[in-house]
């Protein structure tokens, strides 16, 4: 068996936290802040009914996207579920294309076809947000299969929630990935809940990282409120995978501050519990650290905040000014065959 390690979340390696320089911290800070501000604005616009349908925000979980993006190399892919604005922004989807998509406008990242749950960005190997819980687990495994088949050095990050981890698809995927030593990095974003169902109500195995053990897959638990911890764990896992040893599994412990979706009042958890995690807020933590270690000045931080505010304002304007797709666009992108004979009567 390969290294199977348990690391208790919350027990940060203090040495690592300051091991990174200004550039790294500001990268994390800026990305996390962009995601946070983007979604806060999206919620506002949802309130004004500019955005409709489901809207699951990532607020609280931003450190996962940040740590991922600093640790991966170009060529690596990501696939995740519907709580995906933060992952997509991390992958380089612009605020404009993201906001326009939430509005359902033709200038959106998928031309208004997907909405909040389904961004895709082929240019940066973002294989999408999937709306069927757990469906992306085998899909990410297949993306990794293709990398191995083609003989690349790339891996595929396959992300899923604690709720999704209970789907049978995980068992089948983990087993094949281990058997065939596929270059896949499984990440369970354990935010404690699947809709109103807490992790301990879904299984006898409450520690999500242990799921990997029965496959003898290297498995770890990581503090998801700290981008540095996420970054490190991913680097380590990626090195293992790129060395040809096969898959690796990380449980990243995180928390969503908001309800499951816009319509969820989240009565199943206490205010205290939410506050506990908000006290660990990764954006605030990184900002404090950067300032206290004098890695950047107040003015530099303020400049980032201003830039992001402008970026989001601009994205909203862009979305507002864009047009809805023509209804007839329904009849595009269902088939590659351009003259596909749709039934129209």
């Amino acid at each position: 068996m390969d290294t199977v390690v348990e690391k208790k979340p919350g027990t940060k390696k203090k040495s690592a936290a300051s091991a990174y320089g200004k550039e790294q911290y500001l990268f994390w800070y800026e990305l996390m802040l962009r995601i946070r501000r983007f979604e806060e604005r999206a919620l506002m616009m949802y309130g004004q009914q500019k955005i409709r349908g489901f809207c699951h925000v990532y607020i609280g979980q931003e450190a996962v996207s940040a740590g991922l993006e600093s640790a991966l190399i170009p060529g690596d892919g990501i696939v995740t579920a519907y709580r995906q604005h933060g992952i997509a922004l991390g992958r380089g989807v612009s605020c404009r294309a993201a906001m326009a998509e939430l509005y359902g406008k033709e200038t959106g990242i998928v031309k208004g076809k997907g909405g909040s749950m389904h961004f895709f960005y082929a240019a940066n190997k973002y294989f999408g947000g999937n709306g069927i819980v757990g469906a992306q687990i085998p899909i990410g495994t297949g993306i990794a299969f293709a990398e191995k088949y083609k003989g690349t050095n790339n891996l595929c990050v396959t992300m899923f929630g604690d709720g999704a981890a209970r789907q049978g698809a995980l068992y089948e995927s983990f087993n094949m990935a281990m058997t065939w030593k596929l270059p896949v990095l499984y990440i369970c974003e354990n935010n404690g809940y699947a809709m109103g169902t807490s992790v301990e109500r879904t299984s006898n195995v409450e520690e999500m990282w242990k799921i990997g053990l029965s496959f003898e897959m290297p498995s770890k638990s990581v503090d998801g409120m700290d981008p540095a911890a996420v970054h490190e764990a991913i680097q380590e896992a990626a090195a293992h995978i790129r060395a040809g040893h096969g898959p690796y599994y990380l449980e990243i412990k995180t928390y969503r501050y908001k309800g499951h979706s816009v319509s969820d009042p989240a009565k199943y958890r206490s205010k205290d519990e939410v506050q506990q995690y908000m006290d660990l807020d990764p954006i605030k933590t990184v900002e404090d650290l950067v300032l206290s270690k004098k890695l950047a000045s107040e003015a530099e931080i303020q400049a980032i905040k201003d830039r992001i505010k402008e970026e989001i304002d601009d994205a909203v304007q862009f979305a507002e000014n864009s047009a809805y797709p023509d209804g007839k666009e329904l009849f595009t992108d269902n088939y590659i065959q351009a003259d596909y004979p749709y039934i129209t009567d």
Binding site: R52, G53, F54, E101, G104, K105, E106, G112, K113, G114, G115, S116, M117, H118, N130, G131, I132, V133, G134, G163, A164, R166, Q167, G168, A194, M195, G196, T197, R201, T202, S203, Y268, Y324, P325, D326, G327, K328, E329, L330, F331, N334, Y342, I343, T344, D345
Partner: protein, 328 residues
């Protein structure tokens, strides 16, 4: 005597009454217990019946559908709730390969009295994976019965009948119509499975439909009445077995028919109705059967797609005028 109830509360009453009546009935699914159901259909049931009979599952559709099948084979009467039928696709193996086939495979030794239920159909801007209609998929399978009904009174009586029925039954509800209101009779009653309902009588054209498209057809019929066209609206209520007789009888009276069907056109319910009508009422038809389906595409997110995709009164009225050879 009757009262006004929402579809949600009517379904809830059906579950409540049947669970009180028969201890072997239990409810299982995602968020059905502590959360009162994703759409609050099971509100209060956990309180009355406890964790033994109102059971929250992990997200594991294939697994808990199969657990339902096994429990049904072994003497219980499970009601399995899918948060929506889009997610039940994961469980089709158990529904299609097992629930539907237990009786025939065991040559009658094992029955499978199970109800699978949840909302089907588009529900606004929810995009491709959350906007599908499954009546024709499951209606295609011998061994299953399929019910699809949004009238609160009938939905209640049908759910009660389904729970008592010894065959496996799939029930399609509607996410956006759980708040839809209707008069529901007091006291105990059942609605027979396999019987359509005439929602509006008419003489010029027959509109055959089911689930939320009944409301679209009724709106269209009201508009058409203003133009002097009298439309009869048939709510199938049960998809399988289909009540062909009611359809044929109506067509013999009106001589014209439009089928309004939220599912995709290919090999769907509209095609089935059209076949039956040409076979059994060919000489009574004054025009070809016309159907109004959802578009032959997946449904994207933007509001313009929803508008283009779904049947609506305007499209129905246009189709009716076509079978009536009215050009204005």
């Amino acid at each position: 005597m009757s009262r006004e109830l929402t579809l949600r509360d009517a379904l809830r009453e059906a579950l409540l009454e049947e669970m009180r009546r028969d201890e072997t009935v239990f409810l299982m699914g995602e968020e059905v217990a502590q959360y009162d159901g994703a759409y609050k259909v099971s509100k209060g049931l956990l309180e009355e019946f406890g964790e033994k009979r109102v059971i929250d599952t992990p997200i594991a559709e294939l697994g808990f559908a199969g657990i339902g099948v096994g429990a049904a084979m072994n003497g219980l009467r499970p009601v399995i709730e899918f948060m929506t039928w889009n997610f039940a696709v994961l469980a089709f193996d158990q529904i299609v390969n097992n629930a539907a086939k237990t009786l025939t495979q065991s040559a009658g030794q094992f029955k499978c009295p199970i109800v699978f239920r949840g909302p089907s159909g588009a529900a606004g801007q929810l995009a491709q994976q959350h906007s599908q209609t499954f009546e024709s998929w499951l209606g295609n399978v011998p061994g299953l019965k399929v019910i699809s009904c949004i009238d609160p009174a009938d939905a209640k009586g049908l759910l009660k009948a389904a729970i008592r029925d010894d065959d496996p039954i799939c029930i399609m509800e509607s996410e956006i119509l759980y708040g839809h209101k209707g008069m529901v009779p007091d006291g105990e009653y059942l609605v027979p499975i396999g019987k359509a309902a005439i929602r509006r009588e008419g003489t010029d054209v027959t509109l055959v439909t089911y689930n939320k498209m009944v409301l679209v057809a009724l709106d269209a019929a009201a508009e058409l009445a203003k133009e002097g066209i009298s439309a009869e609206v048939i709510d199938l209520r049960t998809i399988r077995p289909m009540d062909y007789a009611t359809i044929i009888e109506s067509v013999k009276k009106t001589n014209r028919i439009v089928v309004i069907d939220e599912s995709w056109p290919f090999a769907g319910i509209s095609a089935e109705v059209a076949y039956a009508v040409q076979k059994h009422a060919f000489d009574h038809l004054d025009a070809p059967v016309i159907r109004v389906n959802s578009a032959d595409t997946s449904l994207g997110y933007a509001p313009t797609f929803v508008e283009e995709f779904l049947p609506n009164p305007t499209k129905v009225i246009k189709a009716v005028k076509e079978v009536m050879y009215v050009t204005r």
